[in-house]
Amino acid sequence: MSKSRFVVARTSDVAPGTSLRVNAGGRDIALFNIAGAFFALGDRCPHESGSLCAGKIVGFAEADEPGKYRLVRDGEFVRCPWHGWEFDIRTGKSWCDPEKSRVRAYQTGVTSGSDLVEGPYVAETFKVSVEENYVVVEI
């Protein structure tokens, strides 16, 4: 099946370290900006379908032995707002049960206004800010 590309947001809509819920082709997508790089996850937590874009963006807690805590990859995980499962924003992988509970990760790219295809922002956004960059999600 061929994939469709949707323009879902302006890059400026999603500041680094934040997320935004967008809709592409009828699907809720949680869009994340990690230090200028964009990632999109299905906005439905595979557990009970909590909305991931309402979750806190956090680092990953590690320990080599009891009592030796360490935070790594700060800002690269999202914690589901409901039961706190942690997902790697880059891959959609859940740390706690990698096989069973992977969130669907979509390919994202940043594209300049002239390449726009279809999507909720297409017409309007295209017109007002030709110079702006838009986030495109491929489904």
Binding site: R21, N23, G26, R27, D28, D43, E48, S49, G50, S51, A54, G55, K56, R79, P81, W82, H83, G84
Partner: protein
């Protein structure tokens, strides 16, 4: 958190047989819109007392729970109302996010606020209980008739508790009595029997929602270090509660008493029944006042709420467990707005049972117990 979290999301899976079913949620937590809100319901003397002395519990931390939680206010991260009230503190938001969105026909309020039953100053506890009861009516039930209040009271001094129960029981907007399962002594002990007598007389179920502060460590071997352990002690606590109430003979004395266990889960109950039956048979001579198997008292007198839903690796184990408890004794609950909230469609999907049984769990059992339409 912005209001757009409430904007409709893509259509959820219909949740099988749940389509269109109005549920009864047996565990909703209302919160004070502002910390001062409750003060307006307290007499001046106790307003002063609170301002001067604050919380006075049997634990080292004056104003917070013993173990810091993993989420602010123990709440779903998306449950903070935009107007600045805490989770559960804004009825309009609760209506949109939960009552309407999840098709809740009836919601049982479980006010945990400030634990009147665990106040060391009994007179303050009694005044606080009255205030919390009045607050439930004025700020919640009056404004949304889907909600039902629970009578909170000071179980450590039964005369105060009974006076409060008598005051409220006439009002049909109260559907049950609510006690903290962590009392000064195990709840089956005779000091609490006058309260059971009142509950039986007014034909009100008693809801026991996990929690409370009684000064004892949360396990039989002291305080655990971590929240993950402390949270789990709700399970041991509920088991202890059933053990105490059954073995002490409460249900021989009060055959009409109905107990609702809230937020303790369910799956531990079948092994507990087996354990009680097996060892009671051997130790019968110590407890000859029990005329029937402990498991029979449990079935006849206890109702269990679903949240936090037990999640065995095989869904069929969940149903097996529920059947061992009795499908007529399981009642749906969400724990809104707390972090371990369960969605109706999730529970329905995990159970995979026919529409009639599902209807009983999601709604019918509670309607029958509480006499709701």
């Amino acid at each position: 958190m912005s209001m757009d979290l409430l904007e409709p999301r893509e259509k959820r899976k219909p949740g099988g047989a749940l389509q269109g079913l109005g549920v009864v949620d047996c565990d909703i937590h209302p919160q004070f819109a502002t910390p001062g809100e409750i003060l307006t319901f307290l007499p001046e003397r106790w307003r002063d007392y609170v301002r001067t002395y604050g919380g006075f519990y049997r634990q080292p931390l004056a104003d917070t729970l013993s173990h810091p939680r993993m989420a602010p206010d123990v709440a779903r991260a998306d449950s903070w109302p935009p107007g600045g009230a805490p989770p559960g503190g804004d009825l309009a938001f609760m209506q949109r996010q939960h009552l309407d969105a999840n098709n809740v026909d009836h919601g049982m309020l479980m006010p945990l606020n400030r634990g009147p039953g665990n106040q060391r100053n009994l007179e303050y506890g009694a005044a606080l209980a009255t205030a919390v009861n009045d607050w439930q009516i004025a700020c919640w039930v009056e404004r949304d008739a889907r909600l039902h209040a629970s009578i909170v009271c000071t179980q450590e001094h039964p005369p105060f508790a009974i006076a409060e129960i008598e005051r409220c029981a006439k009002d049909p907007r109260f559907s049950q009595i609510m006690l903290p399962p962590k009392s000064l002594e195990p709840l089956g002990r005779r000091r609490y029997w006058p309260i059971f007598e009142a509950a039986e007389a007014f034909d009100l179920p008693i809801a026991l929602h996990v929690g409370g502060i009684n000064g004892y460590p949360a396990t039989g071997s002291g305080w655990p270090s971590y929240y993950i352990e402390e949270q789990h002690t709700n399970v041991q606590g509920m088991q202890g509660l059933i053990t105490s109430m059954v073995v002490e003979g409460v249900f021989e004395q009060f055959p009409g008493l109905r107990i609702v266990l809230v937020e303790g889960g369910v799956a531990w109950a079948p092994p507990l029944k087996w354990r009680l039956d097996k060892h009671w048979k051997r130790l019968k001579s110590e407890a000859p006042h029990l005329k029937r198997l402990p498991s029979e008292y449990i079935h006849d007198h206890f109702w269990f709420t679903t949240q936090p839903l037990d999640e065995p690796p095989e869904d069929s184990d969940l149903l097996e467990t529920f059947e061992q408890v009795g499908l007529d004794r399981i009642m749906f609950s969400t724990d809104y707005p707390h972090w371990d909230f369960d969605e109706p469609s999730f529970v329905a999907a995990k159970l995979r049972i026919g529409p009639e049984k599902l209807r009983a769990i999601m709604s019918g059992n509670a309607r029958e117990l509480y006499g709701l339409t």
